[in-house]
């Protein structure tokens, strides 16, 4: 045992054991990719094999697309070693590809092929694809309107909320006046203002912006305020002995120290404002994804509703992801001090 040498290993051990581990490691690394590919091929066949029970124009294209995705999944995972980070990413998500392919197959068969699920209410995948291709301009217009409204309201609400929060946290006098107002009005759901807002504001657009700003502003204000109020006096003492003036204390001590709290408020505000956005669009604005949903319901266009819902959830999760990315950039210093 103690006189092991490199040549021993090369001569006897290595060749005998090398084949089996190679195979098993190949299966471990690429097996799920092959499964994913099979799942998507099955989905493709499920589209093309049987006749549709209804009249949908994208069934054939969808089947072809499924085969292409199957091919990409196969090549991508088996050849991941040559594809760099893209290959690694694909391999990591291969299990999800399997699940997605299986889900789509069941969905396809249960709706378009055998109508196990009642039909107008549960449209097949191809009818949703049809919405994205045939109703694209209207959908894009709605997306644009929603994003504009949401962005405007959110930015206004977040800015005002942040400034108000800092002022209350910093100044006793401001706190004296604003705190009771905040107590009284803040907990009211922003949507309760909706009827009043729509006839007091000059346009439904400005009314909706106000409501979204309101929904955003309350949590941002409260959390900014509590963040500023909980900054340890020791930081102020240090800064003051080093010659800091009040403006420095606010901008370079209070605000950076409160920033983690501010972001919690920004996340909460984002969630609250999505709800207001959709309601405002449904009831007042006559544009945007909320209105598109409403309109689709009016026409019993269920595929359009699902299509709009999917877009909406992509937008919302995209916005959250963006906010996370901004936080991670601004709060790098927190890494290692708290669990993310």
């Amino acid at each position: 045992m103690s006189t092991y040498s490199l040549s021993d290993g090369l001569a006897s051990g290595a060749p005998r054991t090398s084949r089996a581990p190679l195979l098993s490691s190949w299966v471990r690394e690429s097996g799920i990719g092959v499964l994913a590919s099979i799942a998507w091929i099955t989905f493709g066949f499920s589209c093309l094999w049987w006749e549709d029970v209804g009249d949908w124009s994208r069934t054939h294209s969808l089947g072809i697309a499924a085969f292409i995705i199957a091919a990409i999944a196969l090549i991508g995972t088996v050849g991941a070693d040559y594809l760099g980070s893209a290959g690694r990413g694909l391999r990591q998500r291969a299990a999800w590809l399997v699940a997605l392919g299986a889900f789509l197959t069941v969905w396809e068969v249960a709706t378009a092929k055998f109508a196990w699920l009642p039909l107008p209410f549960f449209p097949p995948p191809q009818s949703i694809i049809e919405v994205y291709t045939d109703d694209l301009p209207k959908l894009l217009d709605s997306v644009l309107a929603s994003v504009k409204l949401q962005l405007g309201g959110y930015l206004i609400g977040a800015t005002i909320g942040f400034l108000t929060g800092v002022s209350i946290g910093w100044s006793r006098a401001v706190g004296y006046w604003v705190h009771p107002v905040l107590r009284f009005i803040g907990p009211l759901p922003a949507t309760a203002w909706l009827p009043i807002a729509f006839f007091t504001f000059p346009s439904s657009w400005s009314a909706s912006t106000f409501l979204i700003a309101l929904a955003t502003g309350f949590p941002v204000t409260v959390l900014t305020w509590s963040g500023v109020a909980s900054v340890s006096n020791a930081y102020y003492d240090v800064a003051r002995t080093l010659g800091a003036k009040p403006s420095f204390l606010v901008l370079k001590v209070a605000i950076p120290a409160a920033l983690p709290h501010v972001f919690v408020g920004l996340f909460m505000g984002l969630g609250a404002s999505f709800a207001v956005l959709v309601v405002a669009e449904m009831i007042g604005v006559k544009a945007g994804l909320g209105w598109y949903l409403q309109w689709a319901q009016g026409w019993a266009a269920y595929a359009n509703m699902y299509a709009a819902l999917i877009v909406m959830s992509l937008l919302c999760s995209g916005a959250i992801t963006l906010l996370f990315a901004i936080r991670d950039r601004l709060l790098v210093w927190q890494k290692g001090t708290v669990k993310w």
Binding site: D237, F248, K252, W333
Partner: protein, 265 residues
Amino acid sequence: MVATAIAEAVTQPAAGAALDIEQVSHAFDIDGTELPVLSDVSISVEPGEFVALLGPSGCGKSTLLRLVAGLDKPKAGRLREDEARIRSPHPSRVVVFQDPTLFPWRSVWDNVALGLEAQGILRSQRQRVDAALDLVGLSSFRNAYPHQLSGGMAQRVALARALVNDPKILILDEPLGKLDSLTRITMQAELVALWQRKGFTTLLVTHDAEEALVLANRVIVFSDRPARVKADIRVDRPYPRHRGDPYLAELRRQILGLLGLDATW
């Protein structure tokens, strides 16, 4: 050696300021009752002196330092720096607290730069930050964040953050209290070297009589709260001092006696 050269090239040794504490009394309101903390304290510190303040815990040493820093105003009495009344904090009097209190969202370099930035002179004086970091031997950690430092390193950064302002009076509130004994002895030596080189007046609160005797020209012993000056002891010994010095041992015995600890030592 390098650190010395850089420090001298970049900053002229700032001469220390005189500090006069004249009949200062202070008290806190705790639930409506008055808690006297300082009672008629008078200390006159010469420019460049190194004064150690010793006293039972809770007697009011930190309170006195906050008054000297200008962070609080005394209920009675006056404090002067070079004849000028102390009414508010000023970067010529910088405090190093027991906790390093580094700003966690700032890198080491930005923490040290704090004073210059607050005074609006950072742009033209960036090299002073580099020199201060060199002085405490942490140049290679300039981009680290505070949570990546050990306790001793963090305290060094706090020291650099104070020294970068070239204070005339350096106020130290048990800055080495939480360090392990090895780091502590090293930093004591560094502190003496810095003080000798720069010539600032130093006010050091410590609970360690030996530390006071190794570092200071003068040791002031306080009574229990409310703090009064109980003894003002001159330590006429050249630096570097040795812990085993019988003269210091005798002084230490006296001081511990003043603090009521003679029986155990």
